[in-house]
Amino acid sequence: MMTAPAAAARVGTGVSAARAAEVAADRSDKVTAFVAVESRGTKASGKCAWQLVTISGLAIDERAAVAWLVADRLMRSRCGRAAAYSKWRDSVLTGLPLTGRDRDQVIAFTRDVFGMPDSPGSFDHLEGHVGEWLWYLLMSEREDPDRRIALLEPPKFSVTEPGPDGFVVYEVDGQPLLFRLWELKKHTGASGLSGTTREAYEQLGEQGDRYLAQLTAMHADKTGNLGQICAELVDLWVDADRRAGAGVGVTSAKLPAPARCFTTMGKHLPRFAEPGQLEALLCAVQDYHDVAADVRRFVWTAL
């Protein structure tokens, strides 16, 4: 983990929020407009079919635009209808820092994740949180010809507490609904990805029941087919029913991305043997640190 002063030293691309927002708007405010997507692996028994999403080779203001989209969405989620959101947005877009009460209002929503410029929060946690938001934006923007999202959980607002990282229910024409429980990790060190992915598999094995049990209660209000599958989550999971599946998402700073990844997922989660039950997403982000730092910089610019 990075020490606080080193983390504070990360300043990102230096592109202004206004410019980043402008670039993002030019691409319809979609993260997917800045990424390249490749399908890897095979939909076979015990194998993981995965997607490689690469955010690289972008111009500096394009990378800043990705950070802006994350920061903006994240702030909207945290602030809700509070005026703090628009105050923050206006402030960072105009470059005029907030003062007094307005500043305090923004701090109330950001301190726990980002800390303050003079006492930053854990950069490690921040990178993880940015990774979760990237995954969420990618999933929500993703257009899959084979299935449509019926339910996608937004990321947790907490950066430290455990809980389900990602949960998606899909509709597939002519078939019952199916779900995927995702474990999301970030990978920033020099070591290979296998340690990170193994941790994710293990966590799914150990905590999957817990997350799904909690999701069962959380979605007990759902009706129809969605209600039906949400009521059965734990049974489908322990029985590795074809409607259940596991996903692992890794946001990595490693480029070029490895050609092979998630190869041992089937070994770690052997019960999910139906083709397509195991899926993954590797999001390889060039200068991942800078993207995370940019997200934080955009938040802090208002302070």
Binding site: R81, Q105, D112, P154, S158, A213, M218, D239
Partner: protein, 1172 residues
């Protein structure tokens, strides 16, 4: 077996899966059992597979509305088993706060939704330290929703109100800072809505306002559907479960189950009284929702509730009592043979009755003979209560004196522990009482533990009305059974020669403890104590042939058990049950010897030092947190020990299994270490019902989720021994003592006597036949007086109402009828005055007749000694009365009667000879003059060299002789003598309250009044009595003077201990002016204030600060500091308001403190915002 590890339950909960997916029933049983066993050894590790299974089960159970997938029964079992596992996982306190709160909430939800609500409260107590009201909400926003959920399901109203109030305030401040009316849609919104929902649910439960339930639902739905804000997964999980629980509350709250015509105050007596009860347990609900023979319906005249210990029977009784009082004319009499239970009931009813503006009657001791009316007249009318709590003996005493008054006064009798009618000895009196009450039109509700023949007892109570019986097998805490053996280490034996040809050597074998634990039906695990530290030794003599026999010098079994008991204390309080009074002290000594001084018992130690003297063996034990408890200790000491155990100021108590005087309180662990001994009375043997009662104490509902029951056995280990802990129906059948061997033998003896002796009735030895004859005498007298009140009044029908007469065959019945006939004939030929007098003594007829003769002598001498010039009635002084009795040798004569049962007998050492000539008259003089126990012991038992034994014997002697036996018999003599003096137109009278002075050990009417009004400290009563005499004050004026003096003054003048302060607060309290009632009815109430002289005038808002119960309630204003203190007359009532958890605004104006109820308004305002 009352455990979650029932294989069928586990199988149902798990459902069907492919092999290897989930643990099998056997594997799961093993996994759970292993954790349970480790918990015995203070190791709380839990296997990951077990925890995963728990979450799976939680998921299955959480699928609300998925009835096509999972049956409600499966979901309930899944909740129950998952809760059990989460509960075990919670033992590992190394986990982080979020994890612990998650497990706690998961366990609480599981228990609550599996109808095991008390366990949810117990779980809350385990994580209470993680609930933060002081730190800013933003700093724990990640866990706030979990904290609110855990706190709510704890239903600890006072703490919950404190937390909710702080959280609401902080969240409102945050919203204000963000220029928002509320925090919905923001990251803080879900937590805020949960806090608001919980606040509204609490108001709903306390006040029954269904609008609050709707507000709570709206708030919770907004969290689940994320309109309150997104990203807070924990809040959504919590909200989803609270939503389901809120639905259930609509049917489980007190408001929901009370009939609609019930005055609101009845529900409030529970929801606001102390301790608050907000929801009912399943058997309580089931009972109160009965469509016929509903216990709350006034036309339900007879009812028998047979439920296990810890099923909430006492609360059922309270509900029945409170509703009856609020809706029906007449008073209520609660009867229990268990004195400890009576004390419990008094405590529980006190605050509930205050909400109803009713009072409990004075706590008068049993067996004080004489003129009760005179005493009651002495207690001002204001001291009378609408509910009396008493033993069957006291009720019988009242009935014998004036049956008409009793039956006219009480319209409901609740008889608790009714199964004790089968107890040899006292059981007959209870049976007789029930047969008598059953003949009246009063309502009669019997409460009982598990009865093997409940239906036939119900049929006895109300023939052909099967529905009078209500049974339930439900109980909250699980119970773990274990057997404790002394395990000889044969490999380490030491053989030494001895001087005997037949047995030439002694073999000493070290003993260790072996605990055989049964965590699941098919699993028994053995745990042993450290081999290198034996707990004692087995001593044997070895014959020439090598045969070994037990020899002297072995470590007694109680010692091994007591030493082993210390290893179980880590889990919580322990009750050790032994067979003899002496062993309670010895075992307590052993346990205390293993422990360090215990800070929690400091107050109790101080009280006991003052009450019993520092040398009394109890004091030394209590210093280390261990007490012993037996009938030889004074009642106030027993009361203090029980209170300390209840308040966790003791770690262990050793008691005898004598139900009547035993400890009725629940504890974490019960260790039954009984040994049968030679000469043991049948009534004190550890039979199945008694064992069940003892083990029923294990596991405190609401405090812990599991109780441990350990049965120590002095025999070779065997799996079958576990069956002892699970008696079957046949073992638990209740039958009249009249059909028992002892009664039949006594009857035969009586028949033989009658055949050969003219006045056989007066020669009957003490026992069942004499008791029967005495009771027949009472029936005959009652029939004379009560022909209007009893149905079909004649002796035969009265006898036929006995359970025994219904159970026995015709031949035996005829023999008892014949004995009754002898009594009837004697009664008919006895002078009417004597008939009545012999009834009221409460003794055998033989003793009644003897007393009559004594009274003749007393009357003669009283007349002889009376001044000749009297023109009006004059009472002799106490001293003259006692001198007169002493001069006639009355006290010595009384001590020779069989009823004295060896009272006033002392020994020079524990197994030494009986000391002769200890002057009872002088000792009694010193006792009423106020001498302390140590003084009495030093003065009268100087021949006893062991100081501890000296004081212990004196305490026992005073308790048995003065406080019980002489108080009773002298009372009878004084009353009868005075009646005869009046009849003889003499003006002289014996001191009418002499018996009460003997009972309490005081000599002034003022001190006596104080003690009969509930003051427990004789020392203080003496001191105040003298003060009153000096100042020429009546007790009422003394009370006013004490109010002026206030707590600080009491400390200064009388050096009062904390316990004595509580007594004085109760004494000086304004009765029938319940602040709680006022607050609930009108929203405001006023208390008296002692304002500081230098406090500026004008109204000021204050808060109350206090250090400990009984210390000053300081009224502090933010800007002015200390404004004053709550006056003594209002102190107890203000404390009751604080204990209720009602949120009140406080304002001091002049000498008045205004209290204004606030909680409902706050919640409504915020929830309206939320809903808008």
């Amino acid at each position: 077996m009352d455990r979650a590890l029932n294989p069928q339950d586990l199988a149902d909960a798990l459902g069907q899966h492919a092999p290897g997916v989930l643990p099998t029933v056997e594997e799961l049983t093993d996994l759970i059992a292993n954790v349970e066993i480790r918990a015995f050894q203070r190791n709380f590790d839990i296997d990951a597979a077990l925890l995963r299974t728990a979450w799976y089960l939680h998921g299955v159970a959480s699928a609300s509305g998925a009835t096509d997938l999972y049956t409600p029964a499966r979901q309930r079992r899944a909740f129950s088993v998952s809760a059990h596992i989460f509960d075990l996982a919670l033992g590992d306190t190394e986990r982080n706060a979020h994890d612990l709160l998650t497990l706690a909430f998961g366990a609480q939800v599981g228990y609550r939704r599996a109808d095991l609500a008390p366990n949810a409260t117990a779980i809350y107590r385990r994580v209470i330290a993680l609930l933060s009201a002081d730190s800013d909400v933003a700093s724990h926003i990640y866990t706030l929703a979990l904290e609110a959920g855990v706190a709510f399901l704890g239903l600890d109203v006072r703490q919950l109100n404190r937390l909710l109030s702080a959280w609401r305030r902080q969240l409102n401040t945050l919203a204000g800072m963000l220029d928002l009316d509320d925090l919905r849609t923001t990251m803080f919104g879900p937590s805020q809505q949960i806090v608001l929902a919980v606040s509204a649910l609490l108001v709903y439960l306390r006040r029954g306002e269904t609008t609050q339930l709707d507000l709570a639902r709206t708030a919770l739905v907004s969290v689940v559907d994320q309109s309150a804000g997104e990203g807070d997964h924990d809040a959504r999980w919590v909200a989803a479960h609270l939503l389901a629980i809120a639905e259930g509350m609509e049917t489980s709250s007190i408001w929901a189950v009370l009939p609609p015509d019930t005055p609101a105050a009845v529900a409030q007596a529970f929801t606001v009284g102390s301790p608050p009860v907000l929801t009912l347990w399943p058997p309580q609900r089931e009972l109160l929702e009965r469509s016929s023979y509903n216990p709350l319906a006034p036309d339900t005249k007879r009812l028998l509730l047979s439920v296990p210990t810890s099923a909430g029977k006492t609360l059922m009784a309270q509900l029945i009592i409170c509703r009856h009082l609020a809706t029906q004319p007449g008073d209520v009499c609660y009867i229990t043979p268990l004195r400890s239970l009576g004390r419990e009931m008094r405590q529980a009813l006190t605050s509930r009755l205050r909400v109803l503006n009713r009072e409990l009657g004075p706590d008068l001791p049993d067996y004080v003979g004489g003129d009760l009316d005179a005493l009651l007249a002495m207690l001002a009318e204001a001291q009378r209560g609408e509910v009396e709590v008493m033993t069957p003996e006291r009720l019988m005493q009242l009935l014998r004196r004036d049956p008409e008054a009793v039956m006219e006064r009480f319209s409901l009798f609740v008889v608790d522990e009714a199964h004790l009618l089968a107890q040899p000895g006292r059981g007959f009196l209870l049976e007789a009482l029930l047969a008598f009450l059953a003949a009246s039109d009063a309502r009669l509700v019997l409460l009982s533990g598990v009865l093997g023949n409940a239906a036939s007892i119900a049929n006895w109570l109300a023939p052909d009305q099967a529905e009078v019986l209500f049974t339930s097998a439900w109980r909250g805490p699980r119970r773990m059974h274990a057997l404790l053996y002394a395990d000889p280490l044969w490999d380490d034996l030491v053989e030494t020669p001895r001087r005997s040809k037949e047995y030439p050597s002694t073999v000493r074998v070290p003993l260790r403890a072996k605990l055989r634990v049964k965590p699941a039906e098919a699993k028994i695990v053995s745990l042993v104590s450290d081999k290198s530290q034996p707990l004692g030794e087995l001593v044997l003599r070895k014959s020439v042939s090598g045969k070994m026999e037990k020899a002297d010098g072995a470590t007694p079994a109680y010692k091994v058990a007591a030493t082993a008991a210390t290893a179980l204390l880590h889990a919580g309080s322990l009750l050790m049950v032994v067979s003899q009074r002496d062993l309670t002290r010895s075992a307590a000594d052993v346990i205390a010897g293993e422990l360090e001084p215990f800070a929690g018992s400091r107050d109790l130690t101080a009280f006991l030092e003052q009450r019993l003297g520092a040398a009394h063996p109890l004091v030394g034990c209590v210093r280390n947190g261990v007490a012993f408890h037996h009938a030889g200790l004074p009642v106030d000491v027993l009361d203090a020990v029980e209170e300390a155990l209840r308040n966790e100021q003791l770690r262990a108590v050793v008691a005898t299994s004598t139900l009547t005087d035993g400890v009725n309180l629940p504890v974490r662990t019960v260790l039954v270490a009984e040994t049968a001994y030679e000469g043991q009375q049948p009534g004190v043997r550890l039979d199945a019902p008694r064992l069940l009662n003892a083990v029923g104490r294990a596991g405190r509902a609401g405090k812990e989720t599991e109780g441990w029951i350990v049965l120590a056995l002095q025999q070779r280990e065997a799996d079958a021994d576990f069956k002892l802990l699970q008696p079957d129906d046949a073992d638990l059948e209740v039958h009249s003592t009249l059909g028992g061997d002892a009664a039949i033998a006594a009857l035969a003896e009586a028949e033989a006597l009658i055949a050969t002796t003219a006045d056989a009735l007066f020669q009957l030895p003490p026992g069942p036949a004499a008791d029967f004859a005495s009771h027949v005498w009472f029936i005959l007298s009652a029939i004379e007086q009560l022909d209007q009140l009893l149905r079909e009044p004649n002796l035969k029908t009265a006898l036929d109402r006995f359970l025994g007469f219904q159970e026995m065959d015709a031949e035996l019945r005829d023999r008892w009828y014949a004995l009754a006939g002898v009594v009837e004939r004697t009664y008919a030929t006895t002078d009417p005055g004597r008939r009545r007098r012999w009834v009221s003594t409460g003794t055998s007829l033989r003793t009644a007749a003897l007393l009559d003769a004594v009274v003749d002598g007393v009357v003669d001498v009283a007349v002889e000694r009376a001044p000749q010039d009297l023109t009006d009635v004059v009472e002799m002084t106490l001293q003259s009365t006692l001198t007169l009795l002493a001069d006639l040798g009355v006290l010595d004569a009384l001590l020779s009667y069989p009823e004295a049962d060896g009272a006033w007998t002392f020994r020079s050492r524990r197994r030494g000879p009986v000391l002769q000539g200890i002057p009872v008259v002088d000792a009694l003089d010193a006792w009423v003059a106020g001498a302390e126990m140590t003084d009495l012991a030093d003065r009268f038992l100087s021949d006893v060299s062991d100081e501890a034994f000296r004081i212990e014997q004196m305490v026992d002697g005073v308790s048995r002789t003065f406080e019980h036996y002489l108080a009773w018999t002298v009372g009878v003599i004084v009353e009868q003598a005075n009646a005869r003096l009046e009849g003889a137109s003499s003006f002289i009278r014996l001191r009418s309250d002499a018996a009460w002075c003997i009972r309490f050990g005081v000599d002034t009417p003022e001190a006596l009044t104080l003690l009969t009004r509930g003051m427990r400290s004789r020392r203080l009563a003496h001191q105040l009595g003298r003060e009153a005499a000096q100042r020429g004050l009546t007790v009422e004026q003394l009370s006013e003077w004490l109010v002026e003096l206030h707590i600080a003054g009491w400390r200064e003048h009388f050096d009062v201990a904390p316990r004595e302060v509580l007594d004085l607060l109760e004494l000086t309290r304004s009765r029938r002016q319940s602040l709680l009632r006022g607050l609930l009815e009108g929203g405001t109430a006023t208390a008296a204030v002692r304002r500081r002289d230098d406090s500026p005038p004008g109204p000021v808002t204050v808060v109350i600060e206090s250090d400990a119960p009984g210390s000053e309630l300081r009224l502090v204003a933010t800007d002015r500091g200390l404004v004053g203190v709550v006056a003594a007359s209002s102190h107890a009532d203000v404390e009751a308001v604080l204990a209720s958890g009602l949120e009140v605004g406080l304002e001091v104006d002049g000498e008045a403190l205004s209290l204004t109820a606030q909680d409902a308004t706050i919640v409504e305002a915020h929830s309206d915002d939320a809903a808008g």
